[in-house]
Symmetry: C2
Subunit: 197 residues, 2 copies
DNA sequence: GTCTATAGTCCGATAGAC
DNA sequence: GTCTATCGGACTATAGAC
């Protein structure tokens, strides 16, 4: 076996990541209907043949977009949950829920293209969103830890969803300052909820 | 001027409404990418030529979907706001906000296709959603009436948005009972907020 | 692993009969 | 106002050179 199994020791992102980035950019800028293989290849700076080597079909591309999105959110959620449970082998259900919500908020702040994968998948084939539903279901299952405040934490989660979706469709009516106030409020409410468990 | 300007005194819905209904059904069932003129015409029981008489282009069809959706929500919102302000010539800003949120909730309960127009428009041409953004902005402007609880009512509005969008993409992880509890909670919170103004 | 060229399909829009 | 027939364009996917 030779030196490095990961072929990208420099700052150049792997081709797959570059292609997924290009696809997200196109969906946000021009709508899911303009997400064609030609356009993705051109945006990423490769030929159509090069794109089809990594993603044999368009469905494979959409699946890849959804998969990367879910993996990113789940990884962030696990990290935030661990931060909230210092010393614990496994985070509590309440910390897990709070971590998931916090992960969604943080991602929405730093990366507007977040939900582009979901929009493109929903437009092309709604069944591609099944993995997303499973991820959501995990959060709701964890909410069962505190039946007496289920509605409250469910509402907080829905509010974050609403913020994400509004941003995605460019529907958000908030100014930058209004948005910051709402995000701070949501983060505070989530922390308060998880600390009262 | 002759008897009746509306040509449909019987129970048959006008052709335009039937076509818009068919388009919404297709988007929900098969995704925005399958919203073709042929499919809409077949679903509505007319030929493609008949469809193109009422909507000369596909963009006109998408615009019509968005327009009907907005008009319906605004009409419901105005009615709810008037119900909350008995005797007043014009509803207060707080009642207006509460009415808008209540309208969205009620529509989500009785009609799952609600956001299909927005999803289809976003997929085809994001700029078609501009009228939606204007409608949202009206709600936020009305929220300025009570700066001290802006974050709270904004969160409630976002939670309703999240519920609508989750339903639209079939992402809602809630059981029917869980969903009912959350909706009741949201309605109670909105009423409480508007009565404390 | 990436490219060019092309086959085959589907869609939006037009023209014109009834 | 609704229909049929059809054109031109855009798209996905394949084949094969390098």
């Amino acid at each position: 076996m030779v030196a490095n199994p990961t072929p990208c020791p420099d700052s150049t992102p792997p081709a797959v990541e570059r292609l997924l980035d290009a696809a997200e950019r196109l969906v946000v800028a021009r709508g899911a209907a303009h997400l064609t293989l030609d356009a993705v290849a051109q945006e990423a700076g490769v030929s159509k043949g090069g794109l089809l080597y990594h993603f044999p079909t368009k469905a494979a591309l959409l699946t890849g977009m959804v998969r990367r999105h879910i993996q990113d959110v789940e990884a962030r959620a696990a990290r935030y949950a661990a931060d909230r449970s210092p010393g614990a082998a496994e985070p509590s259900a309440a910390c897990s829920v709070a971590g998931r919500i916090q992960a969604l908020i943080e991602k929405s702040v730093e990366k507007r293209e977040m939900g582009a994968a979901m929009l493109a998948a929903a437009a092309g084939d709604p069944s591609l969103l099944n993995p997303c539903r499973e991820s959501y279901r995990k959060t709701v299952d964890a909410m069962a830890c505190c039946p007496q405040s289920f509605e409250r934490i469910a509402m907080l989660h829905l509010a974050v969803d609403g913020l994400l979706m509004s941003d995605l469709l460019n529907l958000s009516p908030f100014t930058a300052d209004e948005r910051r106030r709402v995000v701070d409020y949501l983060l505070r409410e989530v922390s308060e909820w998880s600390e009262s468990r």
